[in-house]
Symmetry: C2
Subunit: 616 residues, 2 copies
Amino acid sequence: MSREVKVTFEPSGRGVFVLPGTILLEAAARVGFIIETPCGGAGQCGKCVVRVTSGACLPCEACYHTLSDDDVARGYRLACQCRVDGALVVEIPETSLFQTAQKILSRDSGEPTTVEPTIVKRFLELSPPDRDDGRSDVSRVRDALGNVEIDPAAMPAMPDALRAGGFRVTATLSGNRLIRLDPGDTRAVCFGVAFDIGTTTLVGTLVDLNTGADRAVSSRVNPQTSFGDDVISRIKRCRDDAHGLAALHDAVLKATNAIVDDLAKQASIAPDAIVEAVISGNTTMQQIFCRISPVALGEIPFVPAFEDALTVRAADVGLKIYPYADVQVFPQIGGFVGGDTVAGILATRLQQSEAPALLVDVGTNGEIVLANRGALTATSVAAGPAFEGARIVNGMRAARGAIEKVVFNDDVEINVIGNAKPTGLCGTGLIDAAAGLLDAGILDITGRILGPDEMPATVSRALRRRAIEENGQCRFVLVDATESGTSEALCLYQRDIRELQLATGAIRAGIAVLLKEAGLRPEDLGAVLLAGAFGNFIRRNHARRIGMLPPIPTERIRFVGNTASSGAKRMLLSRTERAEAERLCRATRHVDLSLNPDFQMEFSQAMLFPEADAHA
Amino acid sequence: MSREVKVTFEPSGRGVFVLPGTILLEAAARVGFIIETPCGGAGQCGKCVVRVTSGACLPCEACYHTLSDDDVARGYRLACQCRVDGALVVEIPETSLFQTAQKILSRDSGEPTTVEPTIVKRFLELSPPDRDDGRSDVSRVRDALGNVEIDPAAMPAMPDALRAGGFRVTATLSGNRLIRLDPGDTRAVCFGVAFDIGTTTLVGTLVDLNTGADRAVSSRVNPQTSFGDDVISRIKRCRDDAHGLAALHDAVLKATNAIVDDLAKQASIAPDAIVEAVISGNTTMQQIFCRISPVALGEIPFVPAFEDALTVRAADVGLKIYPYADVQVFPQIGGFVGGDTVAGILATRLQQSEAPALLVDVGTNGEIVLANRGALTATSVAAGPAFEGARIVNGMRAARGAIEKVVFNDDVEINVIGNAKPTGLCGTGLIDAAAGLLDAGILDITGRILGPDEMPATVSRALRRRAIEENGQCRFVLVDATESGTSEALCLYQRDIRELQLATGAIRAGIAVLLKEAGLRPEDLGAVLLAGAFGNFIRRNHARRIGMLPPIPTERIRFVGNTASSGAKRMLLSRTERAEAERLCRATRHVDLSLNPDFQMEFSQAMLFPEADAHA
């Protein structure tokens, strides 16, 4: 087993353990840094340049073409091609970071990241009331602000705020509506939070609304998982248990409020200083967050409660930021295609793509959006929880002890998260293993694990002896009992492969139907954008090898990070983006695959693995 | 002591005990029936006709002039002049009731009482979603209603309501905003509640928004009285105690919610079926109700928090009707002149009066509005709690056991509320006693109770011996210890008279200043409208005798009932009235008497009782 090495990224100090040979770009993505690759990783543009400040990292050939000798000598490297050789400290220049997802498809638009949030703070120096000026507090404030609406919820605190501040106060306006009045000048303190409410993971980003800068990030497992791994089981819970919706709502709000507390602590502010929130999630997650029953999403024809963006009050949903802050909920496209997908389109500017492009968010629910000549079509497929490690015999989440990477050479090498003994297999490891087994000829295209005697002659002895036959089926041993953290061998079972086939087949079939309806072939795709926390860590060639992604060159497959979060942040920072989200949502045609006769056919075909990787 | 007799009014069945000799009109007013008296009680118009169906009631002379002999024989009587002789059952024809307060001043406008509430219910029969129609629930409902706004608070219940009702649902709209969706057809059940939030008393009226009819009335003592009798003591509590406002708010909401429960019980509905509320009260009461600090009302220049009408959500203020119902709070004129005064102007159409007219609401705080050629001027005076029985040695509220009426003949006769032994003296009894003592010559115009030896010769022996001198001051015995419910004599003390002088003097001075500013004399007044629960029970001539009301003929002094309630009901029933309330509020000039140099002078003069009643 190869020994993983640590790569530390500056200036953040975030570190990650990777196998030697890992490309720097990938190591960075593992800790959430998406590096610019306008040339598609061809080593031509030099945009992905980073600097190795400690440790050994051989320059790739492209480094000498693209960078000056001097720069190479000073440690500059192209992250897209240079590989980790040993422990490294790598500095990522601000200019190499994928700043705004919009650039990925319209990279020459040069659009600046505008900070024009709905929330505006204004400092007022008012004259106190006297005998000649007995205007009410509300009139006094309104006269100073121009003709704004005063939120009645902001009134109770007004008389005291005015007097505590000696009539020098800061007004917090949400658009044209006063939502808060504080004594003194508090303009410098103005925060919003963008939430990605995932089926499995909740992520909150605290944003300074004055500058647009991230101030803190925090995440939690969505505690609703204790009610079921996928949205369907949670919808059923709401249907069958009169208190189900309340229980699910309470669970997610409790965790979300823990995130708020953590964010506030990290930034040394009071949670109350957060005066706006944006939520993006799939339809079920968004509706439960808003305490709206998702039961109709569990019945044909899978009707969401709302489509247009929703504004609810923080206190009304139980979110413990400023109680009268607006919580902006993303618009929903239809069925299971919800706000996270709209956020993804918003973040990537998918619709501006000149060539046809796909946005794929792989999770328990997979959402797929096709942009073709400005037209957007979206669908969702139930990939199931295999990628989260569920329903896989030795499966687990991508946590400490998980085999996150499997490399096939003469034998199997693995990488384990967190410098621990392996205790299970997470989604990326599962894909790696299946791709490796296919390439080695140990797995046939029907998904059957061959017995040692059936394997091609090219299979090494080391690999061959890992296949163990029992009751006419084979399992493949990834880790011997002696090396396992569980003291039992960690294996890939025949039934695990079937689960994987269902998951990848669903995504592949979804993509196939969208392409077919648009009259496109996979090779017409200029880009496939992989979104989501999981998508970030997938080995693109392996995902393509098992058929989850279409047969297009690796460089056209791009990681776009957590677009549910980055899209939510965009909405938080800009009124224009909010309007754009509504527009994009309305412009996107929803394809309900449950009603689509082609889908079942494509799905059954997609259960076969591809013969080979066309772009290996 | 005369024995009170019972008068029962049909068709309501409400009864009241009164002294023989009481005019029918007054007996009716005691139980809340305001009878029409367009001719001012002169016995000329016949509008106040009622029918005595049981018991003896001699026809007055005017009956023979105004009614046919046949009608008189059948028991018809003019309520304005006929007196109660013994126990009676009296039928009040619908046409004799003071239907809508607006008529009092513009009686020929013939304006109908329109029922056009902000709340409208619409029954929808929607097609359920199917494969060809996957619109969201919100879109489905909105498409059926036309372009309405959907209150996000109404969304959580929508999916279940649609499905429980088989997509036959009732939409509750507040103006253009959907606030609620219920399964089935619930149009018949549509209620609002009008609240009079008084410093001392809370009154709620449940109104059927389909018909405009009252369905129930309920009242409670405002439990804030335990924090102080008047608004100033409650404002101080909010200023000095960090939890004061919360405690006062909780107290009034608890009682208001008890009223809601009682109203719902009386009408056999769920509190949740009440989908709108209107609040009218003085500035302090309205602000505390809305949890808005009233502290600035306690400091010069007495600034209210708001002037324009306010709409808050029931759940936000803790009112337990439908949680997302609007609570409409009356606009406020300024200082202590609040929503109850606007409601009074709205209810009486004061501004339409051709002759100058006053609206006087006598309570712990006295509000006075002058209408003069369409211009409205308003002020308030601190009358103190004497009329509520507070600060009066043997004072009490107008409850069971209270002496509510005192008649001076050779001796003193009293009427006690609730057929009980007397235990104290309430406001009306206090005014009666003072007026009677003035007329008898036992009280001089400076307010001194004369000793038996100083009294004029005309004073009877029975009255004379009731004055008891002690330490150079006299008290006047109203009830001997043997007849008292407390086993101690009930007396009017010299200091009680001083309290009464302060209370009446404040009102008289307030009226004087408004008249002076307008260049009017008291006799120019075409009408003085007495509003409020207390005003209803005052003997007009006695109030005029002690100088509380200006020296104008009794028939120009009219009872207009609880206009805080009737005005609130108007607003509840009509969008037009709501706009009119805003308009009237803005059109009314507020006079702050604390800043008025004339007021102190008028006040000191008004401490002297009038020499005699000019219109006795």
